[in-house]
């Protein structure tokens, strides 16, 4: 009875540059590579995950080292040279592989820790594997456990609730002010990279429209086209501000572009709707005094960094909890897997006892004439009771944890004691 191993190999955003990940990504969908892998006889079960941050293969096989090479060649041959590929690939075996999968599912290995997207991608990938019937007994259970581990992490820790970057922090603050960002108007003043990123993030949260204001109108028009928004010149700033809910400012101007008086003057026109101003320019674009106005919330880059820092601390605390959950689930799964290992022996042992019982009963009963059905039944019961009692301790011995003999040894002992080794060459 050879022991099957769970193997996970892949590349992710941590140790593989984007140029290589791009080439390795399974852009043609899951069907084709899953079917290709099926050609490999050594694979018993397999599953594939491909996202923009990672490509991972998970499989069960008897000979991990050799199969690993075969899988890599089959999947990635011709895409990247072996010299480029080899240092990027990480390979995990058995409990390491399980732990890694659970960590990924719980979004602890994501670029933005705690983001929820990965679980959906994982489920999608698993759906393909189960449709193609490439996932069997072990992988089915493993992936379901991965989903439930991820769910536990999500409900028992607050890792998903934490913001990690400036734009996340801005969105989180915006939510505390507006409740929902759906349908809100945003304005970009100046066009830095960070401002663009923040705007993109806001749009993904359902912002209705982005207006771009810039010193040179041409650049504003270009950027506005990217966000499908409007462009305006700097002279119209106040005019536009009356319609805006969220403003992100990042001009290279050395002076303030908005004073407290400016903002105060437009508030009645806005009917005092809240205004969220984000100043990520250095030196600052917006007068810090603006924050003293009612219904106006001004955050500069340091304030946002504080939010990020605060969330980081909280996230680290939560990550400890999350890792503990992943660890627990890994141990549970490995127990199940090990119990699986003894299952064939238990089944064989019980079958052997059963066949001995049957044979002996047949011999005995044929010689006993004129016994009633009831008596016959009780003889049968006695035979199986004796067999059951005799097997009780060997079975306990197989199932329970022993300090002096590991599972493999115990299996071997029981098999040779009961002569269950006919199917093996040894």
């Amino acid at each position: 009875m050879g022991r099957d191993s769970i193997v996970l190999l892949g590349v992710n955003h941590k140790n593989t540059p984007l140029e290589i990940r791009e080439k390795l990504a399974l852009s043609s969908g899951y069907e084709e590579p899953l079917n290709q892998l099926r050609q490999l006889r050594s694979l018993k079960e397999h599953y594939l995950l491909s996202t923009c941050n990672r490509v991972e293969v998970l499989f069960v096989c008897a000979e991990p080292e050799q199969t690993r090479r075969e899988v890599l060649e089959l999947l990635f041959a011709g895409r990247v040279s072996w010299e480029d590929l080899e240092p990027c690939i990480y390979t995990h075996f058995s409990s390491e592989a399980v732990r890694h999968l659970f960590t990924v599912a719980a979004s602890l290995d994501s670029m933005i820790v705690g983001e929820a997207q990965i679980l959906g991608q994982l489920k999608e990938a698993y759906r393909h594997a189960s449709e193609q019937k490439t996932a069997g007994l072990i992988l089915n259970r493993l992936l379901h456990k991965a989903f439930s581990a991820a769910k536990r992490v999500r409900t028992e820790t607050r890792i998903g609730a934490s913001a990690v970057s400036i734009s996340y922090a801005a969105v989180e603050l915006g939510r505390k002010i507006f409740g929902d960002l759906q349908g809100k108007q945003a304005m970009l003043v100046g066009a830095g990279e960070m401002a663009e990123l923040a705007a993109e993030h806001l749009i993904s949260q359902g912002i209705a429209e982005v207006t771009v204001v810039n010193r040179t109108l041409e650049r504003a028009v270009k950027l506005a086209a990217r966000f499908k928004g409007q462009a305006a010149s700097l002279d119209e700033l106040l005019e536009q501000l009356a319609e805006t809910d969220i403003l992100i400012s990042s001009t290279g101007a050395t002076d303030l572009i908005l004073s407290k008086k400016d903002v105060a003057s437009i508030m009645p026109r806005r009917r005092h709707r809240p205004l969220f101003l984000i100043d990520i320019a250095v030196p600052r674009d917006l007068d810090p005094e603006i924050n003293t106005l009612d219904n106006v919330y001004l955050y500069d880059i340091d304030d946002l960094n504080n939010v990020v820092e605060m969330n980081k601390e909280q996230r680290d605390r939560e990550a400890v909890k999350a890792k503990r959950i992943v660890e627990e689930e890994t141990i549970k799964f490995m127990r199940w897997l090990e119990a699986m290992e003894v299952t064939p022996t238990i089944v064989e042992l019980q079958a052997a006892a059963e066949s001995i019982c049957q044979a002996e009963l047949e011999k005995t009963l044929s010689r006993l004439n004129g016994i009633s059905d009831k008596e016959r039944k009780s003889v049968e019961r006695m035979a199986s009771a004796i067999a059951g009692k005799l097997l009780h301790h060997p079975l306990q011995y197989l199932k329970s944890e022993h300090e002096c003999a590991n599972r493999q040894e115990r299996i071997a002992v029981v098999r040779s004691l009961f002569h269950l080794n006919q199917d093996e060459a040894s």
């Binding site: 607050r158 505390k176 002010i177 409740g179 009917r271 005092h272 009612d294 919330y297 504080n306």
Partner: protein
């Protein structure tokens, strides 16, 4: 019999308040479920209590101090329950249940015997006036609770110190909307209650005590404050901090009026 129901609902309100408070600190969803279950149970028991007391007394139980405070607590509880379906406000239950539980405790300390109604109070206008006014006050109380939450949250956002409350309180917009809805319901009801009250006062004629006058003045001041609040919000577009502050100020005036009423030992 009805008092036993009262005690049961008192206990259930406290259980709800404690569960909500534990959820507020620990944020475990299961705990909130328990809080809700206890709160609904308490409100149901309380409803039965009021109905039973009505049958026992033979008149609407809004005459003694005990009854008035209890009815006030009941209205807040029902107001909160009706609101939480349409405008879910995160962690509002923690605050509302605490206020209700405290009011119930206050009611428990007031003498709860059923007193025969003095003849001058035997008018069908009394229960109408009293119930409308108390329900109005309940909505204004909810608005004030929302106002307090708003002020706490606004302070966190303005000072950029994100402490204990920042993560636990809902967004400013949610709280402002809650305030708007509660005042929009409370103010017309209050006006209606006052109209019924003055019709009744005319019916009564004479018999005016010191408490009666101070109550009238208190009610007028309160009404003017809320009228001003409505004007500022809907005509001038005010919102946010000033409105929250004004809501709380106006509610203080409501409480003063309420206090005058209780000084007289209930009644008109």
């Amino acid at each position: 019999m009805s008092y036993l129901l009262f005690l049961c609902s008192l206990a259930a309100y406290w259980a709800a308040a404690i569960f909500y408070a534990v959820f507020f600190v620990g944020r475990k969803k299961k705990v909130r479920g328990w809080g809700r279950a206890f709160f609904f149970t308490a409100a149901a028991l309380h409803t039965v209590n009021i109905a039973a007391r009505y049958l026992e007394a033979g008149h609407t139980p809004i005459t003694s101090i005990h009854e008035i405070i209890s009815f006030f607590a009941w209205s807040i509880a029902c107001g909160h329950i009706t609101f939480r379906w349409r405008y879910p406000v995160k962690n509002f239950g923690a605050f509302a249940s605490l206020v209700v539980a405290l009011l119930m405790l206050a009611a428990a300390f007031a003498p709860h015997e059923i007193m025969p109604l003095p003849p001058e109070l035997r008018s069908w206008l009394l229960p109408v006036h009293a119930s409308i006014s108390i329900v109005a006050d309940a909505f204004l109380a909810l608005a004030a609770i929302g106002g307090l939450m708003y002020l706490i949250q606004e302070r966190q956002l303005k000072q950029k110190r994100f402490g204990f409350f920042y993560h636990r309180l809902p967004s400013l917009d949610t709280l402002d909307t809650l305030n708007q809805h509660c005042v929009s319901i409370g103010f017309p009801l209050m006006t209606l209650g006052m109209i019924v009250g003055s019709v009744w006062a005319f019916q009564l004629g004479g018999q005016r005590s010191w408490g009666w006058h101070s109550k009238i003045v208190g009610a007028l001041v309160t009404w003017l404050l809320y009228a001003g609040l409505m004007h500022l919000r809907f005509a001038k577009g005010w919102r946010g901090r000033q409105v929250a502050l004004l809501t709380m100020l106006a509610f203080c005036a409501t409480l003063v009026t309420f206090f005058f009423l209780l000084l007289k030992g209930g009644g008109s």
